[in-house]
């Protein structure tokens, strides 16, 4: 196997007395799609934020292409150029149009010219079915459109890894599909992806491996068929039963 794109080694993170990530280790290969599942509060968001260097970890290391990016004092901004992140609640900037949202970082961070990035942004918007929304402010978009725009905004920085944190959780059910389509597209293009999700059937469909987080511990890593049919831990089974039951009811 080639060098992992991203490696977590014994990552620990606490908020005061509360241990949120307990010694988490995992290697992620280039173009791999990892799904993080687990109950609410199990630490999925925190783990993704740590990888994006939004929250500093307390112990352990995070290696990007073999380089430790979690060293205290390491400049986070070059790392964030390579690792894009999209959040659960829509973090589009409300005072900018969709196009301005997309152009901001490439212009200010990469120093791209407005013309350069505009044509690139138009292409992305087209690809994700948003070409007529370029000059619209976020509050005029549906939730699904906003989330797709947020993904496009992250993609415009041409990241090597995308972290998606429950990007469909805040959406009306009929809008979930269009966002999941976008993720499928990204996978097809060979993007390395890590997503926290509650969409179990989607995880089963697209994930290369599924990670079950329980109370800050990475309890189980397995390919989806194994995770969803024959999980090793009783805790995993319990969790899956609960959510799959709910999913069937819907």
């Amino acid at each position: 196997m080639s060098m992992p794109k991203l490696s977590l080694r014994g990552v620990k993170k606490s908020f005061g007395p509360l241990e949120v990530c307990k010694n988490i280790s995992i290697d992620i290969q280039p173009s791999e799609l990892i799904c993080l599942i687990g109950g609410s509060g199990s630490g999925k968001s925190t783990l993704l934020r740590c990888i994006n260097l939004l929250d500093p970890i307390d112990d352990g290391e995070i290696l990007l292409d073999g380089v430790d990016i979690s060293l205290p004092g390491y400049d986070p901004n070059p790392v964030r150029r390579k690792i894009g992140m999209v959040f659960q609640s829509f973090n589009l900037f409300p005072h900018m149009t969709v196009l301005e949202n997309i152009k901001l970082a490439p212009m200010k961070v990469k120093g791209m010219s407005s013309a350069e990035i505009t044509s690139q942004a138009q292409e992305l918007l087209e690809r994700f079915g948003l070409s007529d929304k370029a000059d619209v402010y976020p509050d005029r978009l549906s939730g699904g459109q906003q989330q797709r725009a947020a993904i496009v905004r992250a993609l415009a920085m041409e990241p090597e890894i995308m972290l998606l944190d429950e990007v469909t959780s805040a959406l009306d059910p009929e809008l979930v599909g269009e966002v999941l389509d976008v993720i499928r597209q990204l996978k097809t293009q060979g993007m390395t992806l890590m997503l926290a999700t509650h969409e179990m059937s989607f995880a089963r469909e697209v994930a290369d491996r599924v990670c079950f987080l329980d109370d800050g511990k990475l309890l189980e890593i397995a390919p989806p068929e194994k995770m969803f049919t024959a999980p090793e831990h009783a805790r995993t089974r319990q969790f899956l039963q609960r959510v799959l039951h709910r999913e069937r009811l819907q």
Binding site: R80, I83, F87, N91, P94, D139
Partner: protein
Amino acid sequence: MSTDTNTARGKSPARGLTRRQVYERKAKQKSLIIAAVSLAAVVILIYIIVPLAPGWEGVKRSFFNWAVLTKTFPKMLSAFVLDLQLFFIAAPLIFALALIIALMRNVTSAALYPLRLFAIVYIDVLRSIPVILTIYLIGFGIPGLGLLPPYNSPYIWGTVALVLAYSAYIAEVFRTGIESIHESQRSAARSLGLSETSMMRYVVLPQAIRRVVPTLVNFLVALLKDVALLSFIGPVELLRQAGVYKSLFANFTPYVGAALIFLCATIPAIRFADYLMAKQNAERSR
């Protein structure tokens, strides 16, 4: 036949208004009439009752003296130009300084802690001192240190005092604005690789400032009125000019004239602030 049913269901045949629109229009007309009638009643009552007071003739002569007003008004208007000049010089300086102080107040890195401490002390001290005292102390005190003309001018130091006092208030306004921007906006900006400075400049500040504009307009109104305080250290602006005329004519009408001038200048601004506030509320509840 079908149009008839339509009408019955609520389409006004004349204008094609819905039943709701017709109802609302009538209700609005009615409330307008009631408001106009009651306002007229109050005005008429004041107009009749106040002159019945035994001292009315004296008050009229001393406060509402047409002859004095017409004699003093032109010069007071030109004195108000000085207020406006001082205002338009002070306001941008205030905003710039307030923004710097608010940003200093917001720094988180330990190395820059002295800046933060300075901002805290600055805001606390200047907000605790009445503006007029700041003007006295700086406007008289600093030139007294032995500065030579023109650097000891009360115009300069009075303006400096106003800028210091108001920037402390407005820095707090900016700070609340900055803090009202949700953490997720910062996370989103950071995750895109924006530096702290870019994040502030392009993401946080534009939203924060937009949010506090109504408050800022209110402070601008207060500032325009407080420019008059500079008269205590020498400049003959509207309030002082009115005082001179009051003393010359032994009559308070110039003060009423000054009040009118301030009213004309500030009421539009106040209405504008209200309008902005209402607009923001509407946007937020959408």
